[in-house]
Chain length 239, copies 2
DNA sequence: ATCTGCCTGTGATATGGGTCACAGCACGGA
DNA sequence: TCCGTGCTGTGACCCATATCACAGGCAGAT
């Protein structure tokens, strides 16, 4: 098969080595077989838009490879990035289930491989495979959970510094770096994007980073950030 | 049967007249029968706490009567009210499904009737009744949807006035009052609580209401608020 | 009728951070 | 090598809103 956008396409879910540790993908054989029959494997370049906030739901997108930026956007152009979706996540799920419009916009930030399933096929699939339906409920619970975290971070912090500290700590807890005394975080986003994640302005992010560096709390090594003083960062995060 | 806290207890879901218009409750007979077998009907006074943020999930609470305040709370005591749940809503659902801690606190603000189902019973029930499982997915989608709205409101508005205007408009669209030229909203909450809903301070809410009244945009009739100038309120909401 | 607690209303003050404006820098394309 | 484009860094300014402090009002308890 062709490898567009420099991707190694995963042909079938059955041969996918990563299936086991993905909440949705690790289905019993019969369900997986049915899923294979209705999915369309496809690849997208960096910057492609899977769906836009407000659109009627066409179906779900199972992210196999690459990262996808999920954001909402106000009428005046301001953007809030909700999260960066990682492989294994099912995108557009809640809209597809409920039939309401997509509540956010999904845009690839890497070359991505995606399995698309049309809404009517997916709904039929769910009704016929109750174990898959339960996985969907689990995925949705998960999404709801992270949404609640986001709400807490946005609504209950007094300062931008607090939100940034929270974000950095969360990032470091992703890669299993959290346990180390000096966790490292790969900064794959621009200050602008970080600002959009914590609902502040680009300049404020720049200033906050300058402050953190001055106080020796973090330290930049190229595009990697070293957290030198985890305790101080935690103190900032919970105030 | 006794009627504690002045409630007329709904004995059985089968005889409940309100069942039809509730997403979760309107189950096929076989599922409903099974549900009857595992639920515990109970009543709570005003101010009772159903569960607390951070607790391990004991099970779900189907709200039959009364209203429940759902909130999250920061370490320093600041509270953010996410929503006021109305009858028909299933509380503690996502935590019960995923097994993670309850992500928020649920506290009754009226005398309430509630059907409680233990986690293990509920999970078994879901696996045995795929139609119920699908309803759960729908409920969760709904919750996710409102969470996204909350995030938008919190993260993308520049002023407290904007958030208050949004809240008032949303309230008026609940009771079917939205269509009227001068919708009425019952103000069942204190300024303090409203402040906690839009993430601002009590004083700011008081001042904002004063401003709205001065500009003849709203008008207080006892504890009922009359929206005299819907257009102006909408203009405030989207800026 | 009085007290006590919760709610609303309003002034004074301080400040976090949004916004504008511009400068320096890195990196890729021609 | 030079240029353009997008990112980062920083100063100046100002406004919305948090916070503190207190006064009046209303309602339920004694």
């Amino acid at each position: 098969m062709l490898s567009p956008y420099g991707l190694d396409i995963i042909e079938s879910c059955f041969t996918c080595k990563l299936r086991a540790d993905r909440i949705f993908c690790d289905l019993p054989t019969s369900a997986l077989q049915a899923f294979e029959g209705i999915k369309y494997a496809s690849a997208y370049p960096k910057g492609a838009v899977l769906f836009v906030e407000g659109q009627a739901p066409r179906g779900i997108f199972v992210l196999c490879k690459g990262r996808v930026k999920l954001s909402i956007c106000s009428t005046d152009g301001k953007t809030l990035i909700l999260k960066i979706a990682e492989p294994g996540e099912v995108l557009g799920l809640s809209a597809t289930v409920s039939g309401k419009a997509y509540e956010l916009t999904a845009e690839t930030i890497d070359p991505c491989q995606v399995n698309f399933v049309k809404r009517e096929d997916f709904l039929r699939f769910l009704h016929e495979h109750s174990d898959a339906c339960f996985r969907v409920a689990e995925q949705l619970s998960d999404k709801y959970n992270t949404a609640c975290h986001e709400i807490r971070a946005l609504g209950l912090s007094h300062s931008a510094a607090e939100k940034l500290a929270k974000l950095l700590l969360e990032w470091s807890s992703r890669n299993g770096e959290a346990a180390k005394t000096e966790p490292r975080v790969k900064l794959a986003l621009t200050h602008e994007e970080i600002a959009q994640m914590i609902g502040t302005s680009r300049e404020t992010v720049t200033r906050l980073f300058a402050e953190l560096k001055k106080r020796q709390i973090v330290n930049a090594k190229g595009s990697t950030l070293v957290i030198r003083n985890k305790a101080a960062l935690k103190a900032l995060a919970s105030n």
